[in-house]
């Protein structure tokens, strides 16, 4: 337990160790640790921001969805209305067409019945003349009596 030069040797060793630690050990570790600290802080704030963004996106998505639904509903409504309109329009068309057809048919019938009456009338006139000829045994001058015959036919 003698005090000797060891003392000075130990002091020198101590000084060198401290110098080395100050110069070469402490700074890189501090640097790495503070850099990591910053990184973690950045990461945390990024995560915060991301969750906030997610919330916003969800809200926006919900909004869009609602809007789309509304639009779809409006479209369906419109389509229904349009379809009803078309059905109405075609019904009306069909009705007028039918009426027109009926009208035409009626006109044709009318015409035909007029024609038939005309023919019948002519036939009757002829028959009447023939009958009269038989009765009189003489030929009737069709020309001379045509006025009378026409009168007769008109009366039929």
């Amino acid at each position: 337990m003698n005090i000797n030069l060891t003392l000075i040797g130990q002091t020198i060793a101590f000084a060198i160790f401290v110098w080395f630690c100050v110069k070469y050990v402490w700074p890189p570790i501090t640097g790495a640790m503070s850099a990591r600290q910053k990184k973690i802080a950045d990461g945390l704030s990024a995560a915060d921001r991301a969750s906030h963004d997610l919330e916003l996106a969800q809200e926006k998505a919900a909004q869009e969805m609602r809007k789309a639904k509304e639009e779809a509903a409006a479209l369906v409504d419109q389509a229904n209305k349009r379809a009803a309109q078309i059905v109405e329009a075609s019904k009306a068309d069909a009705r007028t067409e039918g009426e027109k057809l009926i009208e035409q048919a009626r006109a044709e019938i009318q015409q035909e019945s007029v024609q038939a009456r005309e023919a019948l009338r002519a036939e009757v006139a002829n028959l009447a003349i023939a009958g009269a000829e038989k009765i009189l045994e003489t030929s009737v001058d069709a020309k001379a009596h045509s006025k009378m015959l026409d009168k007769l036919a008109a009366e039929l």
Binding site: M1, N2, I3, N4, L5, T6, L7, I8, G9, Q10, T11, A13, F14, A15, I16, F17, V18, F20, C21, V22, Y24, V25, W26, P27, P28, I29, G31, A32, M33, A35, R36, K39
Partner: protein, 284 residues
């Protein structure tokens, strides 16, 4: 074992391996007489004492430097590969020590000085490693040294007052340096002269008090560490005197207890160094 009686055994274990200068015509333990003054290893405790101041404790210096190199090598290795990503196990361990010291300095040191934290870490880890050597069984390494022809070998540098005083003198020089740097040489002298009693007539009294207080700091640092480690070492040696089959019943609890002492003493030395240097930075 190189000693027969318990007393000799204990003395033998408490003797450092000393390399020093023996004076001319000195009669050595084996009867030979030195023809001229020369450097040699002491063969007995008496020779080591007679070498006086011109001697080295080779074991103390060797082991303390080895521990210092181990500490710096390990930490430098980690520092060079320090990653900002997820740290590995080794880096994690180093960072725990690092943050521990950083917090100590932040809590106890009131100035701004980038040297204090690495200084504190050096002291803490170095002393911790040197103290830890105590957990190696007392006869283990001395016996190996004995086979290698070395008579004495004491591996724990902090059980040698030279070892602890060497560090505390370093701290003392730093206290003086920073006191003079922060307060100026005049300011420092003024502080020594006018505290605690601010009156010119009491300057001599103040000076004695303050200088004593200043010198007490390294003295208490070194002696506290040395005393604790030395006492623990003596107990280990005493336990080693017991029959081998019963030694474990005492040495194991004592060693476990010493895990605490080792850490605590390193911690106390570190925290007191920080406090003393903080005082050196304070202006009155």
């Amino acid at each position: 074992m190189a000693a027969d009686t318990p007393v000799e055994y204990i003395k033998h274990h408490l003797q450092n391996l000393t390399y020093g200068k023996l004076p001319e015509s000195y009669e050595r333990a084996d009867g030979t007489v030195m023809e001229e003054a020369s450097w040699t290893f002491a063969r007995t405790a008496g020779e080591a004492t007679d070498m006086g101041f011109m001697a080295f404790h080779v074991d103390t210096l060797g082991w303390s430097i080895a521990m210092g190199v181990l500490f710096l090598g390990l930490f430098r290795f980690v520092a060079k590969r320090a990653t900002t990503d997820v740290p590995g196990g080794l880096q994690n361990g180093v960072e725990i020590v690092f943050e521990f010291v950083q917090n100590l300095v932040r809590d106890s040191f009131n100035g701004r000085n980038p040297v204090i934290a690495p200084l504190a870490m050096t002291i803490f880890v170095w002393i911790f490693l040197m103290n830890s050597l105590k957990l190696i069984p007392v006869d283990f390494i001395p016996q190996i040294a004995h086979f290698l022809g070395l008579e004495y070998f004491k591996i724990v540098p902090t059980t040698d007052p030279n070892g602890t005083f060497g560090i505390s003198i370093g701290v003392f020089l730093l206290i003086l340096f920073y006191s003079a740097k922060v307060k100026g040489v005049g300011g420092f002298a003024k502080e020594l002269s006018f505290t605690p009693f601010n009156h010119w007539a009491l300057i001599p009294f103040n000076l004695v008090l303050e200088i004593l207080g200043l010198i007490i700091k390294p003295l208490s640092l070194a002696l506290r560490l040395f005393g604790n480690m030395y006492a623990g070492e003596v107990v280990f040696i005493l336990i080693a005197l017991l029959p081998f089959w019963i030694q474990w019943s005492l040495s194991v609890p004592w060693a476990i207890f010493h895990i605490l002492v080792i850490t605590l003493q390193a911690f106390i030395f570190t925290i007191l160094t920080i406090v003393y240097l903080s005082q050196a930075h304070e202006e009155h």
